[in-house]
Amino acid sequence: MFNDATNYAQQVDEVMLFIVISSVILLLIVTVAMIYFVIRYNKKRNPVASQISGNTKLEVFWIAIPTVLVLFMFYFGYAIFHESRVVPKGALIVKVVGRMWEWKFEYNNGKDSKELYLPSGKPVKLELTTLDVNHSFYIPAFRIKEDVVAGRENYMVVLPQKLGTYDIVCAQYCGFHHSLMHTYLHVVSNDDFMKWLGTKDSLESNNRFQEYYPVKKLLAKN
């Protein structure tokens, strides 16, 4: 279950696991008790019901225990999430520009690209803006997303670790081809990244939109 694309993703999975395990235990207690009572106190086995109208101690018990449990869940979730909001000093800054229905990435040396390249092991602040409607910048493998809201600049901090190629998708409904607003994130070594940064703009992409509309790709080549 654990995802090792980034440390952060792994920690999110730990929060998930904690909540899911607690929930499964609660669900089992409730379901098993319910089914057991229906069978055990069936009319045939128990022809006369006992009229029990309540029990204050029990009420306090099942208010207090879940309260402590959910407060712990809350804090655990907040503490991990907080890491993703702190921008470390010296973070690489990449501008992410969304528009119907593609992403563009702008690096501080003036280079533009349609697929995102990031060096491994270096914190990155992604500055999110849109040219038209709202989008949401979502990297499932990194367990993180942030909406790209018209008229404002949102941000997201990631620390890529494992080399590889990951999906980037749009998670906020943005019209006709919302579902094709897809591109790739390439996490490469620092050397490869510097090399890539020195090359010309790379405005081609093999994303989902191009797969559906190869004509545009051909036009772009010419």
Partner: protein, 540 residues
């Protein structure tokens, strides 16, 4: 004994009124007839919404186009949401069972404002017809999602204004019903029925009615502002004109989150009716259940921004709204624990309504517990706007509210129609619904965790297996629901006559004949016991 008096009365179907034929329905002020008119219209809308849902699942069988284009798909999920939420689930239980049962349960002859009650049905129908009309007028079916987020809803070429007007008018229907119920509950209880002798369904309607009255005007104002923005480019929400799209999201969710509790509270109330009747014992923790309805209604106002955790709101807001979201889970938990405790040492007959309640407790618990996953900030940033959310709210709304809608239908059917359905067939539909439901929606939890966003016409091929399982589940589920409905219709047409009190319930609706006479009670009863009094000592 129960049927001895049936010859000497005329039930509300056959009573002579001012009008005859169809007009005796369209101009009626009888709460029971109005409840049934709501039922007919809502079941129709439910079937339309369900058909759209099934078609969407068929579209999801393969990546890319399966049966419809992206534009059609976008319109389909928008309509599915609009119809199911505004025309079925929000008004469902209060308008049908609330209207029919509230006066009966508190020993009244009608609601406080019978004519307003009829007016609210006309508002409801006007809203519904506007929503349907908008499909065929200029621009075509709305494609914004039921949340109609700005700026997309300002820019889309589809017709946004008419469906928004529909929601606006439906809001009035909801507010009027709320005012009517609050007044009825305050003023028209039978002598001796203090607030803590009211049935818990009435308590839940009371809490719901307050949310309807206080929260619904906010969506009304928001809708008007969106229409103004679209028509006159005022610059309220559109950032290009100096507006703020987050302001829209705040306003939208300040209503739409409490609306979730409008949807679930009456279902919880119906559960609190069904369990004591089938366990033949008083409910466990009456006050805890009653107060938890109020607590849900109250805290429910202050958690709206958990729909906006990823929208760029400050970290402080995220902290506070996440904390409050976790707290609102507690009163729901309290209810579940008290229901299960009510089964303890009961004398239980597993009738059809009780089986629906058991199905509800299981599915709703999953829905509630996955809500914790979404309330936690770390996991929310991953799962927000994915299929995980879709699964979560279907477990709550469908597994919760709609299962109890079905359960309540089976529970009060004999009272409403004076007929019985085939209980054996009804019991058999429950495992079918259980299997279909979990295949359809549990797979969506996994899809969401794997990163499949919602409102996607196309998807990456790696998700296909789960989508196929889910689609097959939808067919099983629909089969179960159709068998259930056909069984009820057969019961209506040729079922045996139902006795006055088929389940042995203790609330007042079971003390009048089935179906009830026009003015419900020949003599208004005097209340001396709690609502679920099966003998023994009572808590003071």
């Amino acid at each position: 004994m129960e049927n001895a008096d049936t010859a000497s009365y005329v039930d509300f179907y056959h009573a002579e009124g001012k009008h005859k034929g169809i007009l005796s329905w369209l101009l009626t002020t009888d709460h029971k007839r109005i409840g049934l008119m709501y039922m007919c219209s809502m079941m129709t809308f439910m079937l339309i919404g369900m058909t759209l849902g099934v078609l969407m699942k068929i579209e999801m069988l393969t990546p890319g186009k399966t049966i419809v284009s992206a534009q059609t798909y976008n319109a389909m999920f928008t309509l599915h949401g609009l119809i199911m939420i505004f025309l079925f689930i929000i008004p469902g239980l209060p308008a049908i069972f609330g209207n029919f049962m509230l006066p009966l349960q508190i020993g009244a002859r009608d609601v406080a404002f019978p004519r307003l009650n009829l007016l609210s049905w006309y508002f409801y129908m006007t809203g519904g017809i506007f929503a349907i009309l908008s499909l065929f007028l200029r621009g075509g079916p709305i494609d914004t999602g039921w949340t109609f987020y700005i700026p997309y809803s300002i820019r889309t070429g589809t017709d946004v204004i008419l469906p928004l007007l529909a929601a606006f008018i439906l809001g009035f229907s909801s507010i009027i019903t709320g005012i009517n119920f609050v007044t009825t509950i305050h003023r028209m209880r039978a002598p001796g029925m203090g607030f803590f002798k009211m049935p818990l369904f009435v308590w839940s309607l009371y809490a719901t009615a307050w949310i309807q009255i206080i929260a619904t005007p906010i969506i009304g104002i928001t809708i008007i502002l969106v229409i103004i923005e679209r028509l006159f480019q005022m610059g309220i929400f559109d950032p290009a004109l100096g507006g703020d799209p987050l302001l829209f999201q705040h306003l939208f969710w300040i209503y739409s989150h409490p609306a979730v509790y409008i949807m679930i509270l009456p279902a919880m109330g119906a559960v609190s009716e069904i369990i004591p009747t089938f366990a033949k014992r008083t409910i466990f923790g009456y006050k805890a259940i009653a107060y938890s309805s109020l607590a849900i209604a109250f805290i429910g106002y202050f958690v709206w921004a958990h729909h906006m955790f990823t929208s760029g709101i400050s970290e402080t807001s995220r902290f506070i709204f996440s904390l409050l979201t976790f707290l609102v889970a507690i009163p729901s938990g309290v209810k579940v624990f008290n229901w299960v405790a009510t089964l303890y040492k009961g004398s239980i007959t597993p009738g059809v309504p009780l089986l629906f309640v058991m199905l509800f407790v299981f599915l709703f618990s999953i829905g509630g517990l996955t809500g914790l996953v979404l309330g936690s900030l770390a996991t929310n940033a991953h799962l927000h706007d994915t299929y995980f959310v879709v699964a979560h709210f279907h477990y709550v709304m469908f597994g919760g509210t709609v299962m109890i809608f079905f359960g309540a239908l089976h529970y009060w059917f004999p009272k409403m129609f004076g007929k019985m359905y085939n209980e054996k067939i009804a019991k058999w539909t429950i495992p079918v619904i259980f299997v279909g439901f979990n295949m359809l929606y549990f797979t969506m939890f996994i899809l969401g965790y794997e990163g499949m966003p919602r409102r996607y016409w196309d998807y990456l091929p790696k998700y296909q297996t789960l989508h196929v399982i889910s689609t097959v589940g939808s067919w099983i589920l629909v089969t179960g629901i159709i068998i259930m409905l056909v069984n009820l219709i057969n019961g209506l047409r040729k079922g045996p006559k139902a006795p006055m009190n088929p389940w042995g319930g203790k609330t007042l609706e079971w003390t009048v004949p089935s179906p009830p006479p026009v003015y419900n009670f020949e003599e208004i009863p005097v209340i001396t016991h709690g609502p679920y009094y099966y003998g023994g000592e009572e808590e003071k």
